[in-house]
Amino acid sequence: MTYKRQIDRLPIVPADAKEHNVTCHFCIVGCGYKAYTWDINRQGGTDPSQNKFKVDLAQQQGADSSAWYSPSMYNIVKQDGKDVHLVIMPDKNCVVNSGLGSVRGARMAETSYSEARSTQQQRLTHPMVWRYGAMSPTSWDDALDLVARVTCQIVKDQGEDGLFVSAFDHGGAGGGYENTWGTGKLYFGAMKVKNIRIHNRPAYNSEVHATRDMGIGELNNCYEDAELADTIVVVGANPLETQTNYFLNHWVPNLRGTSMDKKRAELPNEAHSPARIVIIDPRRTVTVNACEVEAGKERVMHLAINSGSDLALFNAWMTYIAEKGWVDKALIAASTNGFDKMVAANKTTLEQAAALTGLTVDQIRQSAEWIASPKEGNARRRTMFAYEKGLIWGNDNYRTNGALVNVALATGNIGRPGGGCVRLGGHQEGYSRPSDAHVGRPAAYVDKLLIEGKGGVHHIWGCDHYKTTLNAYQFKRTYKKRTDLVKEAMDSIPFGDRTALVNAIVEAIKKGGLFSVDVDIIPSQIGQASHVWLPAATSGEMNLTSMNGERRMRLVERYMDPPGQAMPDCLIAARIANNMERVFREIGMAQVADNFKGFDWKTEEDAFMDGYHAHEKGGEHVTYARLKAMGTNGFQEPATGFADGKIIGTKRLFADGKFGGKDGKATFMETQWRGLQAAGKQAEKDKFPFLINNGRANLIWQSAYLDQKNDFVMDAQPYPFIELNPADMAELGLKDGDLVEVYNDNGSTQAMAYPTPSAKRNQAFMLFAFPTGVQGNVVSAGVNEFVIPNYKQTWGNIRKIASAPENTRHLSFKSREYAV
């Protein structure tokens, strides 16, 4: 049976409940919420005077009510050691979401740690160490001492290159300016660690190197631009599912035509129509369907290209648009370099692109017209370009990114209302660290080095390679082998003999072992191999700052206690630094020890002031008190001043025609097509019948680290789905919900068959990064020249391994497309 909570009423938020500003800690959009807390033995009433909303709750509330919350928005948590009621509900006054909550964010309360209601009991509540053959509780002092002793000894023996680090670099949960600064100051300040990688990729690199190299930061517009554009171009993204309320609250009004008044008011003296949209994606997504519902099929162009051929399409657009003269000549002359050279180098005819992409010449020509043909009165067409993982984790990342930015820049769409060329983003951002220049470019391919036996100590911060790396099958087997060597060594010594224990670990490392320290909020899958777990706090359990996809910075105010002894990551980093300083002194390396000064932070605010406030552009204008006063709307980075009690922000970047190049200009990029770029991909395509396309889905946040213990989610999604054309399913002998094995020369994994009539034959789509079936197992080690993984272009075989297990039999396998 379908999961039901059997809840028929909820406690009412009393009029005097405490109110906290919250930004959703899941996706990049960063919807505004309010957290209300009140004493456990009290409740509000239905009379307007007795509840926070000042409305009569004895009446049915209408649609879009700001006085209703679902059971998933309610919980009982600890605040200052006492049980309190908690309601986290969307904030109607936040301009990002205007009161909308997604199926992810609207479960923030339910996915909080609660002793009273037994939610998220998986959370780590105290440090754990490998002792007597199992992970066992210990004190912070003991855990930190062990981490520091082993780490310092390996740095002494192997240098800082012997310390490998995997660390988040983003905002929201498991990130934020406080925590990226804390970890950054440790590894890039006190040390200069080179063998470091980011949470979702095997190296320390930008996913969007090309746009940055061109002088155009990747988050350059504002969400309102989606309401103002004449045309939206979206590449390799599925915003209804993965940037939900950005799409619903800012794209849909333009597709429906309900932002016309705003267009006329903000952009007078030019013709306006409801938006058209061009969607580049091999797969028909629910985004395509929603766009057709809102705008009508005639205003939606879904270009279902051959997987990985985006670059050829963009070069053909550029060639055609340049030939037609639909470029911004004044901007090109005043603010850019290399236009003519780029056009000559990238010349691609419509016919050539049609052959590579599988599109028709007419589709390519017409989409170019939608992008750039002048409007009535020869006005420049305003086109917003948005892209995400289909491009970023797709074939030839660097050149493809550059090719798309070429088109946006040439058509004058950077820094202008209704324009922008932006990544849509996954997490929020929150990057504040000392320089990473020492890492170099290309950066070290950390996962490959770990497989090759390099490094002695591995510090992991909120990452789970086992679920979110490429070549994961091989990675897991090697990582387990190396960490098991250290576990065996630890098992041979009484835990209480610290000197002998550290010596045994160091000896095991010399024999190819690896000492693994996992800082996380839950026991992750890679953590099963670790020797120390350090429990971290998450958003709302600490004060936390981040920015969203339009650079909107907000403060999440702490509204509950972290579980047990868990601490903010920035303070864990500081305590590791304190302990390493002590140990380096003890082993006679006083000069090295001195590098670890400056970590005397007591609170996350100390880390914020040391990091963002003191180091980031405009940071001097930003404090917790000022952010608190700015509520759930915050300001858009960078801050440029403070006046009348408000931080002054920046609505769009590059609005003055000054770009990020050293000469203040942007530079066009030569981006010739070179086929499937990553090593081995073409051979894999030739060998295996199915494209194993992959990506995220509406219901699941990231790697399901919280969702895996949420009944509502796991009832609906016990295994990762794999969408297959029904004819393919018939040939494979598959019924709805059957378990299949996906396999190729890289490895194998499992998924649950989901019949999908809109799927093309031999083109499967599998949920990415799910704990009960890891798609990365079948992704090859091939990367681009800057070590960006290529998850999307994966080919494999599929076979049935089991008929539908019990937990898939109650599931609906109907089309996900809204239809009336």
């Binding site: 049976m1 379908t2 999961y3 039901k4 909570r5 059997q6 809840i7 028929d8 009423r9 909820l10 009412i12 009393p14 009029a15 009290r42 409740q43 509000g44 009433g45 239905t46 009379d47 007795q50 709750l57 004895a58 009446q59 049915q60 509330q61 209408g62 649609a63 879009d64 009510s65 209703w68 919350y69 679902s70 059971p71 998933s72 928005m73 909308l100 909550g101 997604s102 199926v103 609207a106 339910e110 209804l240 939900t244 619903l248 629910v286 369907n289 519902v293 509406n698 509502f712 609906a716 109650h810 599931l811 609906s812 109907k814 089309s815 996900r816 497309e817 809204y818 239809a819 009336v820």
Partner: protein, 173 residues
């Protein structure tokens, strides 16, 4: 739309709506400073038993508009033509659901071709053949389904719900 003609037990419903009001009053007393005497309260809300239709009047795949547990809570009765979870009647195929989307309160529309209820607001859809399971959408609940009973004379009576209805913090106001 008045549903009085559908009520099985008018007196009982009046009593229950009075009880709901009293519960709200009791809650109010907890937030004033005067000492209040503790009163026993039910752990569950008391649902009315309302007649929503008859087996004979339902045709396969033609939803009947109803309301439950009161006139402000629209819903449907549907005879699906196939035995399903929560289904009642001789064929085990009669189900009832709220038609207010549990995401943002928009009215759901029935798609007879695949037997789903669809929300025009944000595209959520719920499977009537799978206990109101959200096939795709932004609601953090599956669709509230009616607990139904069929009387000997073919009357279909609703007597409960399995999820919180949108727009109310108590299913019985």
């Amino acid at each position: 739309m008045k549903k009085c003609d559908l009520m099985v037990d008018l007196g009982r419903r009046r009593f229950l709506s009075g009880a709901g009001f009293a519960a709200a009053g009791a809650a109010a007393t907890t937030i004033v400073s005067a000492p209040a005497q503790a009163k026993p309260a039910a752990a569950l809300v008391e649902y009315p038993a309302n007649k929503l239709g008859t087996v004979a009047e339902l045709k396969v795949n033609e939803p009947k508009d109803v309301a439950y547990p009161d006139d402000d809570a629209p819903g449907v009765l549907i005879k699906l033509g196939k035995r399903v979870p929560g289904g009642v009647g001789p064929d085990g195929d009669i189900v009832g659901f709220s038609t207010v989307c549990p995401h943002k309160g928009y009215p759901l529309a029935f798609n007879s071709s695949d037997k789903t209820l669809n929300c025009p607001g944000h595209y959520s859809r719920f499977d009537c053949e799978a206990g109101g399971q959200q096939v795709w959408g932004q609601s953090t609940q599956n669709l509230p389904q009616y607990a139904l009973r069929v009387e000997a004379n073919g009357d279909i009576v609703a007597e409960g719900l399995d999820e919180l209805l949108y727009g109310r913090l108590s299913n019985v106001l």
